[in-house]
């Protein structure tokens, strides 16, 4: 048994792990329910909702620590809060118990997710530096870096110093106006550090069930694209030109020949369709639902804290730790 401040720290870690698990389950269920309604919101609101949803389980688990440990620290342990939820023996931690098991499992998952994500970021950065080295890349007048390649691609990458690229294959097939659309779109991604945002969100979603995490990543990516599409309108004030360019680049990208396979993405509607419809629509949708989100956050906090308390008591009742 570990006692004292180390025991306290490990108990806090144990509460965080169980509460995080509970809030991830509740949040995942909510995500599955709301994901198809996301298109009713404007792109900035969607981004706000998705950021809040992925980050929420973490402050909730910290709040649970506060709610569960407060009665133990207060002078009078018999408070209204202690009857609602509490954690016994906050200074004593048994390694060979369910507390120990939950703490170790959580630590292992946390460390492995962090290592995997850092490794992927390192590999991507290494590939990008190879592209810079071998690509004989030259800046073009629109501000993009031109890669000498027959492929038809335009993209922005780089976590710390995002750079926007266009292949010579794509550049040569675009008109001046279309090239301006692509450049404005990619430079908008670079100026708002979208690759970094996507990476951070993917870090948070790695703790969600895989399919839910993937759907959040896709929805987040779509919202970023829609915001970048909108920002192009400051340069080219015509939605139809932006939409046409999107369509043309998509066709060139996929070497559009004859019948192509049906969409396999998670949305019932293809992201390109959603982007073009969003660009062309006069009503961009609702703004961030603050009241709804606050209610959901409060409800999830209560449910997660209660889940920790219930699980704690149920296991202690059954197994005496």
């Amino acid at each position: 048994m570990i006692s004292g401040h180390w025991g306290l720290s490990l108990n806090i870690l144990s509460i965080i792990s169980v509460s995080l698990c509970a809030s991830l389950i509740f949040t995942s269920a909510a995500v599955l329910l709301i994901l198809h309604s996301l298109q009713r919101f404007d792109a900035n609101a969607k981004l706000g909702i998705l950021w809040s949803v992925v980050v929420l389980p973490w402050p909730i688990s910290l709040l649970s620590v506060g709610l569960l440990t407060f009665p133990e620290f207060s002078q009078t342990s018999e408070t209204w809060l202690s009857s609602f939820a509490h954690w016994h023996h906050i200074y004593n931690f048994e390694i060979l118990s369910w507390h120990g098991a939950s703490t170790w499992i959580f630590s292992l998952i946390f460390i492995s997710v962090c290592i995997t994500k850092i490794y992927k970021a390192f590999k991507a950065s290494s590939k990008l530096s190879q592209l810079d080295f071998f690509g004989e890349n030259t800046p073009c007048k629109q501000g993009l870096i031109v890669i000498e390649s027959a492929q038809c691609q335009a993209f922005t990458s780089g976590l710390v110093r995002p750079r926007s690229y266009i292949t010579s294959g794509l550049r040569d097939q675009l008109t001046q106006q279309e090239a301006s659309v692509v450049a404005a779109h990619e430079l908008a991604h670079a100026s708002t550090h979208d690759p970094l945002k996507k990476y951070v969100v993917s870090l948070f979603t790695a703790f969600f069930p895989k399919s839910v995490g993937q759907q959040i990543n896709d929805a987040f990516s779509l919202a970023l694209e829609q915001i970048a599409d909108q920002s192009v309108l400051r340069t080219v004030n015509d939605e139809t030109i932006v939409s046409n360019t999107l369509l043309k680049v998509s066709k060139l990208n996929s070497h559009y020949v004859g019948e192509l396979p049906v969409s396999t993405c998670h949305f019932s509607t293809h992201p390109l369709t959603l982007r073009i419809r969003y660009l062309l629509s006069d009503d961009k949708g609702r703004s961030f639902p603050i009241l709804l989100f606050c209610s959901f956050a409060a409800m999830t906090t209560v449910l997660s804290t209660l889940s920790v308390d219930l699980l704690h008591h149920a296991l202690e009742q059954l197994f005496i730790h």
């Binding site: 991507a124 890669i147 990516s221 192509l260 062309l280």
Partner: protein, 129 residues
């Protein structure tokens, strides 16, 4: 595939000059970088093992040439950067102008073209009023 600094320089050099042996590569890099013939030989060997070079023994020495041409290599690099290293979904480290996967069918593309044309006609009609 990860490439070290010297590996990148040598691969670039071979793309620029064609077939080489270790001595000629060493002679080229000796002035600007220094380094021993041994280092060049082992770097060429690593590039061969990574299947970026092919080699043929001529006399006592191996002669190396590029096994992959520059444009194919760059094409593969772009694909690697765009995809999440083998998974089908897009990389979370990149924002692409349009989806890099071919998953829209003709009917969906026609529908999008119709939507754009409708919007264009509506805008024209508004302007002429």
């Amino acid at each position: 595939m990860n490439l070290g600094e010297l590996e990148k320089l040598i691969l670039q050099h071979i793309w620029d000059t064609g077939e080489v042996d270790a001595k000629r590569v060493h002679a080229h890099f000796e002035k600007e970088r220094g380094g021993t013939l041994n280092t060049i030989q082992s770097t060429l060997d690593r590039l061969y093992k990574k299947r970026l070079l092919s080699r043929e023994k001529q006399g006592h020495a191996f002669h190396y040439r590029a096994a992959v041409d520059r444009s194919a290599f760059i094409g593969q690099l772009i694909t690697d950067i765009a995809s999440d290293y083998g998974s089908t979904s897009a990389s979370p480290l990149l924002a692409a102008f349009a989806s890099m996967s071919s998953d829209l069918n003709n009917a969906q593309l026609d529908e999008l073209e119709r939507l754009i044309e409708e919007k264009r006609s509506a805008s024209r009609a508004r302007q002429t009023k």
